[in-house]
């Protein structure tokens, strides 16, 4: 591609707006110079031939980037119209739920896949496009901008000066004291360079790198998010633990165990919290103040010999509360759910009917652990009781057969077979009965005995989420870098002041990438101390012209 030679002799790449060396505008574009990226030529504007160039050019365009942002924004908002699938009530069938709850729109929402919008292929594609755009657009600008700012010369072309937004010029009556001027600028923390009686003062250039730093942070963040989909990076599991029980923690290869010593739900008490009384009264129902699992973390002992009973070594005690997970070796256990008063033990006794009088057999009393029932009970007086069948969550299935829905003892039914001392379990059939809560049915005839439920014990169950996320360090690094870049670019400003003496004229021009106000104040400060021309904001001039047009229009209408 042809180089463009400026009158100062510098050869600029094709596509340059302002000469890299002296700043002379090489393309005439209105009253004010286009100072974006210092008017450098970018790769995207230079090469437009191959397919790679075309892709590069597409993604380097800020316009395309903005479109991607807007598309993400709009599609993201659509996903909040109705709840995402993960937030609909558990157990609901999404194919029915949306139509039921939200009518035709809900059905459409489901049919379009919006119920899983954020994991849809096209949403992923948009995020990927954003990532690509971030990389390419940043590279396309950063490299030439860095070169231009590094190579910028002090002496600038007059046309460059005239086309700056803040600009002033006057006859240079007496030679300017550049040294004194430079001292004043240094007082205001400017870096000053001089050349042939011309001066360039610059401050906060590093703010210009802010956007590139924050884009790097974003990319790292997005990569971190992507890594979740690789196996082993992300663990999301769930465990129910009854009070007193110990469960293995998944993802630790059977090394760690957690025991639920106690689960408790605490409520706000109106008496103790006078200040909340009004709110608690209005609420009507009790307000929970705490969910807590007092847990103990165990580690499998390494000393125990192989094949022997697993020996557990206590690692630590921790009260798992919402906001206070139990964390060890990158794994966290969170308090997320609970079940109160789950049935845990039934205690049974046996009654015998003799001569029309009901008598309890005191020797025959036994407990059945509903989570792990012993199947056979033998008593000193010769009685034997066997559990033939146990249904923790009893249900009659479609074919009319009794079955259990799951292993949770929500509706336990037990079929017992009772053998009095004189019966032989090998040969005789005992007294068979089905027993549950409020249920006691004999299943065969000639019963002399009745099994009675004497006591019921309950247990609280805690629901913990087990989470390990190896992507977190990357996400955190991305977040920190992003914030650093954002701060760098937002709270510092790149300001430059050029002062030039040429042909008996004194020129002042200023440029700020943002916060022109501060730049103007700096120039005002200089003018108080030095004999500098008055500067105007040439953008203001444009507004004034527009105002005059407006006023004119108004006059005509009146």
């Amino acid at each position: 591609m042809n180089k463009v030679t400026c009158e100062c002799g510098h050869k600029n790449p094709y596509g340059t707006y302002l000469c890299e060396s002296c700043g002379k505008p090489l393309k005439d574009e209105g009253k004010l110079a286009n100072m974006r990226y210092e008017g450098v030529a970018r790769r995207s504007q230079t090469y437009q031939k191959s397919i790679v160039d075309k892709i590069w050019n597409f993604f380097s365009s800020v316009k395309v980037g903005i479109w991607i942002i807007v598309l993400l924004l709009v599609t993201s908002s659509l996903g909040t119209l109705f709840p995402q699938e993960m937030y609909i009530p558990p157990g609901e069938d999404p194919s029915l739920y949306y139509a039921q709850e939200y009518g035709i729109l809900g059905q459409l929402y489901y049919d379009l896949g919006f119920h899983n919008l954020y994991s849809s292929w096209w949403y992923m594609l948009l995020i990927a496009a954003l990532g690509i755009s971030l990389v390419i657009a940043s590279l396309d600008r950063f490299v030439p901008l860095y070169r231009a700012l590094k190579n910028q010369r002090v002496t600038r072309h007059t046309a460059f000066m005239k086309k700056q937004r803040v600009y002033g010029m006057k006859e240079n009556s007496e030679a300017l004291d550049i040294k004194a001027l430079s001292t004043s600028l240094k007082e205001r923390k400017y870096n000053v360079r001089e050349e042939d009686g011309n001066l360039l003062a610059e401050k906060g250039r590093f703010a210009r790198w802010g956007p590139y730093v924050n884009h790097i942070g974003l990319i790292i963040f997005l990569i971190g998010g992507m890594l979740r989909f690789f196996p082993g990076m992300y663990l999301d599991d769930y465990v129910w633990i009854r009070e007193g029980e110990t469960e293995v923690i998944s993802g630790t290869e059977g090394e760690y165990f957690v025991q639920n010593n106690q689960f408790l739900v605490e409520l706000y008490d109106e008496e103790d919290n006078e200040i909340f009384q009004e709110a608690l009264m209005r609420e009507g129902s009790p307000v929970v103040s705490n969910y807590q699992t007092d847990a103990t973390l165990f580690k499998r002992s390494t000393e125990g010999s192989i094949g022997s009973e697993t020996e557990l070594e206590k690692v630590k005690d921790h009260s798992i509360r919402v906001n206070e997970p139990l964390t060890f070796e990158g794994i966290s256990l969170y308090q997320v759910d609970y079940r109160l008063n789950e049935l845990s033990t039934f205690t049974f006794g046996v009654e015998i009917e003799e001569d029309g009088e009901v008598q309890a057999l005191e020797e025959v009393v036994f407990e059945v652990d509903l989570n792990d029932p012993q199947m056979y009970y033998e008593f000193d007086n010769g009685y034997q009781i066997e559990i033939i069948e146990y249904f923790p969550n009893f249900n009659i299935d479609e074919s009319g057969e009794p079955t259990t829905l799951n292993r949770v003892p929500d509706n336990p039914r037990i079929i017992f077979e009772l053998y009095p001392p004189d019966a032989d379990p090998e040969e005789d059939t005992g007294e068979i009965s089905l027993i549950g809560v409020q249920v006691n049915e004999p299943l065969n005839e000639d019963h002399d005995h009745t099994l009675r439920m004497l006591d019921v014990e309950f247990v609280d169950v805690t629901g913990l989420t087990i989470r390990r996320d190896h992507t977190l360090p990357i996400i955190i690094a991305g977040g920190i870098i992003f914030m650093i870049g954002l701060t760098q670019g937002s709270y510092w400003f790149h300001r430059r002041i050029w002062i030039q003496q040429k042909d008996g004229q004194l020129y002042v021009a200023g440029h700020a990438n943002k916060n022109w106000h501060a730049l103007k104040r700096d120039i005002e400060y200089l003018r108080e101390k030095h004999d500098l021309p008055e500067t105007v904001d040439q953008a203001d001039e444009e507004v004034k012209e527009k105002d005059q047009v407006n006023e004119g229009g108004r006059d005509k209408n009146v």
Partner: protein, 394 residues
């Protein structure tokens, strides 16, 4: 102590009002002369001092309420919305000394007042914290977010100022319609507050028996006369009357009723001004702001966004994610509030890119500031109250 904090908030409100009046005087009373004949209008200074005092009083409210309830007062709609208003005045108090624009004061202070008045429509009593909110991240995340949004709201005030200054009201155009819609929205909010307070003072309640979305019988209270009733609603109280229309069961009809009242009230206020003066309402303000330098206002709005955006990102996304990881087991879960915070972030990111790279300055930029603020309010009000999610605490 709790009563003291509420009193302080009232005082702060009055001081914000005083600031508004002073800023108005500083602009309209430019020609005051002192005895020696010099133009001497200190109203702007007084306005700033009032705003500063108001801020100090409001922060005292915040701290004392914090001490009284034992948690940062940012845990429900009343508390958060109030905090947002205070944050906006904080941003103003910081920005004013840089630009010394009394016009900005005139446009900011009423918005602050409106936000705080709106907040007062929600139950203001101290509420206990549910377990998920019991964390120091509550104040870290929410206060940072409020300050970020408060600064962004200055961008909105400056944007509106810019539009009022620059739009040509002599010709009917989309722009005029747009700014008039903003004026209408502000007036409807005023109407909402006024009507709500009026009926609350009179102790109005109409109770309906109705069938809710689960098909169960339930009761619903109306604090404004029922224009629309609940699903299969039947009046159960002495006050009130049976409305002509009943809403379907999935709509919270008393909220819809309130919205209707606000729109009607807004229309009355707007219509009164529009036809009373035979001019667009924003056009009425234009002569006041003739002397505003649009470049300066444009820069103020841009700086507000540039300063507020990182703060909002830090509070509304980064701190939010840290807390979500601790309380909800995952740093991001596509909860509606999270999504709308992301949308707000993306929107302002688009704003910054449009401004920097595509030269969207001045008027276009001002419109974007307005839309950005609308998004913030949407996320605050609509997402909290209408779209159910993990953030629905109010």
């Amino acid at each position: 102590m709790f009563e003291l904090s509420s009193t302080l908030l009232y005082i702060a409100f009055v001081l914000y009002l005083a600031a508004t009046v002073f800023f108005a005087v500083s602009i309209t009373g430019k020609k005051f002369r002192d005895r020696s004949g010099n133009e001497n209008n200190k109203a702007g200074l007084f306005g700033y001092i009032s705003a500063l005092l108001a801020l100090i009083t409001a922060i005292s409210y915040f701290i004392i309420r914090w001490m009284a309830t034992g948690h940062a007062p940012v845990s429900n709609m009343f508390e958060y919305t109030t905090a947002l208003g205070i944050a906006m005045s904080l941003a103003f108090v910081i920005l004013y000394p840089i630009y010394k624009s009394n016009y900005l004061g005139l446009f900011t202070m009423p918005v602050v007042m409106l936000i705080i008045a709106y907040a007062s429509m929600f139950p203001g009593e101290a509420q206990p914290l549910i377990p998920a909110l019991q964390s120091n991240w509550l104040f870290i995340h929410v206060i940072t977010t409020a300050i970020g949004q408060g600064i962004l709201a200055i961008g909105f005030a400056a944007g509106v100022l810019y539009l009022v200054r620059m739009i040509d009201f002599t010709k009917a155009s989309k722009k005029v319609k747009g700014i008039e819609f903003i004026m209408f929205t502000l007036l409807a909010t005023i109407a909402y507050v006024a009507i709500g307070m009026g009926f609350e003072a009179s102790g109005y309640t109409a109770t309906f028996n109705y069938v809710n979305e689960f098909g169960e019988e339930a009761q619903m209270d109306y604090h404004l006369p029922p224009l629309v009733g609940p699903n299969e609603g039947e009046l159960a109280s002495e006050q009130g009357f049976s409305p002509v229309v009943n809403t379907p069961e999935y709509i919270r009809s008393n909220d819809v009723n309130t919205v209707l009242w606000s729109i009607i009230g807004g229309l009355v206020l707007y219509g009164g001004l529009r036809f009373g003066f035979r001019k667009p309402v924003a056009g009425l303000l234009q002569p006041l702001v003739r002397n505003v330098n649009p470049q300066t206002v444009d820069e103020i709005s841009y700086r507000a966004i540039a300063i507020g955006f990182p703060v909002f990102t830090l509070g509304g996304l980064i701190f939010a994610m840290i807390w979500a990881q601790i309380a909800w087991t995952r740093f991001w879960g596509w909860d509606p509030k999270e999504v709308w915070a992301l949308i707000t972030f993306l929107f302002y990111a688009a704003y910054l890119h449009l401004r920097l790279s595509r030269g969207w300055q001045g008027e276009k930029s001002a419109w974007l500031c307005v839309i950005g603020f609308a998004l913030i309010m949407f996320n605050l009000i609509f997402v909290n109250l209408i779209i159910a999610g993990l953030h629905s605490y109010a």
